[in-house]
Point group: C2
Chain length 409, copies 2
Amino acid sequence: MGKTTKKNAVVGQSGGPTAVINQSLVGVIETVAEYGEIDRLLGARYGVRGIIENNFIELNELDTGLLERIADTPCAALGSTRDKVDEEYCRKIFNAFTANDVRYFFYIGGNDSADTARIVSEMADEADYELRVFHIPKTIDNDLRVTDHCPGYGSAARFVTHAIVGDGMDNASLPGIKVDVIMGRHAGWLTASSMLARHDENDAPHLIYVPEAPTSKEQFVNDIAEVYSRLGRCLVVVSEGMVNEHGKGWNEQLLKMTHGAEVERDGHGNIQLSGSGMLGDCIANFAKAEITSRFSKKKLRVRADTFGYLQRSYPDSVSPVDRIEARLAGRKAVEYAAADQPSGSVAFRRTGNGDDYAIECFRAELKDVARITKPLPAEYINEAGNNITEKFRDYVAPLVGELPVIAKL
Amino acid sequence: MGKTTKKNAVVGQSGGPTAVINQSLVGVIETVAEYGEIDRLLGARYGVRGIIENNFIELNELDTGLLERIADTPCAALGSTRDKVDEEYCRKIFNAFTANDVRYFFYIGGNDSADTARIVSEMADEADYELRVFHIPKTIDNDLRVTDHCPGYGSAARFVTHAIVGDGMDNASLPGIKVDVIMGRHAGWLTASSMLARHDENDAPHLIYVPEAPTSKEQFVNDIAEVYSRLGRCLVVVSEGMVNEHGKGWNEQLLKMTHGAEVERDGHGNIQLSGSGMLGDCIANFAKAEITSRFSKKKLRVRADTFGYLQRSYPDSVSPVDRIEARLAGRKAVEYAAADQPSGSVAFRRTGNGDDYAIECFRAELKDVARITKPLPAEYINEAGNNITEKFRDYVAPLVGELPVIAKL
């Protein structure tokens, strides 16, 4: 088949990285090579920014050994972007595609990336330009609709769970009140995964707060005081996106109180939460001030850790299932393209659970995945709104893999 | 042999936990059982506090399976303490020993614990009471004198190195300036270990600051600006104990500036550094303010993460060598007791390096290990005082074990 009849493809990575996002990239690269109908596979440097700036790497004919090492390397090998993509930006992307005779676009990212994929795909339809756009899910937040779960989540959850197991034993060794802040501005999936660290009733985490369960400051303080008076210690896991009884972010309230105008905001006006320990420190200071008076102990030990970027990049706790599924998601996108399927997003359906855990892939519509986040369902949150139910263990355990066995004297 | 001729022993754990401190505990327990000359082995709950409060667990005749699971559990299974131990406290410990007919004391801890061991041992000598006190080294700070290195350090260094590998790839994916704060108030051993994450010249960490190399704010800002202008990104690893050109802690300067009287201090008047992201946030804000003006970019991305307690408790990155050596240190303490050696501290001597890495144990004098910390030698710090030399790799690599292979496109 002559070169002119073949088609060019672009692959890109977007948003916050994960420990397995390169598995999806390599899944695309190796399946494109198997497919044989694609001429040039262009890797966009730094996500869509590379497309509009014509900054590509040729990904054909890479050595298999290198590809496997790339797959096992955390974070986006192509580079990623935080660019806010609007209609005008999408127009530039589309123009770059027509200029380079690009007929396939594989985009690895979250719901914003799914929306970019949707818009560009619709532009192509309107212009009667043959273009298939496949979104490959990736987010440690696990907040994409339609799919059972997202590649990247299992490994982040594995890191969080191990961290809480360790920090829980630390809290038992040197008792006090400990607050651990977990990523997830709008959804509590990652924060909820910390419940896996609990083997016995009195194990950490003792309290878990997710954005889906609004919590007043009063309840928060009462909850901690109750655990502390019972166990002499308390480990609290909070989502960076936890909200008060009026639906307002704790970060907004606490940080404004203590930091005023200094607080950094992103393009959407949101307070910068990642890469800062401020929220955790504010919560610790607040809890200390409120709870100290309730106990006769002169000095209450209250500490906070913010797990930060390690949640999405730590290379020594990759979930085996996540690793395989991230690769599969990349492969499936190309298989859909090869099977001449319309544009869409790769999604997982769980077909077995527990020891028989299994998934199958299907193509979801881009519009059903784009933009809107999927919250943690109410059935996974306890009635008091301060913990995660055992039912969630069934959901999350297979995604995380084996956890350490903890023993006590 | 009748029960009355046998002797009682106490074992305790002290200070900040490590991922392998229970290996040393189990090393003591199993070797005491093999030795056969000790009647009761009492585990002091929460370190020396358990001794003076008569809070003990009987550690004889524990199931081998349970012991192995305890050994693999991070943090102090007996509980630990931050109690400041003075002469009067030591007197209470000694009195508790005579009351319980305790003739051996195995104490797992850092240089403060070695000092406690020394004082109690001297009190016994003065009172002509037969007591052997053996200190078993434990610290993620690696700052004990005499010994080549300390159990607990290798696993903490392994966590830090993996974290910097991941965060370095994150920083390459989404370029900006990133500050990572590592534990170590007085010594830079743990911070220095981050250099293992660097495979190529331009890899993270780009700059490393340890307390042994005083750094002015001016140098710090110039260093970061130089790297950022060259690479478009910069990952900086700083020790929580970094000091300025006058030998004053950066934490003192920066936190006083921004937080004033709010700052929490411990019994020694030191600012609380662990369990708080304040120092990292202050450094990030300071760096951002100072560096932004040098670059035309409107918005400089500066973030900070403080690795916090995970460094000493994370259960999924234990160094294989550290795991074995921590167990060995516990075993050796009892072997010295069984061989009727005088009180002392277990120390390691390196007898081979690289692929032939090996150590042997010897008994050090308690007074030579107590109190004073061992700084990072000058040969491991580069001339500019902003990085760690390749020579340090030879020292630290065998203690950490295999690291991830990182690949780039």
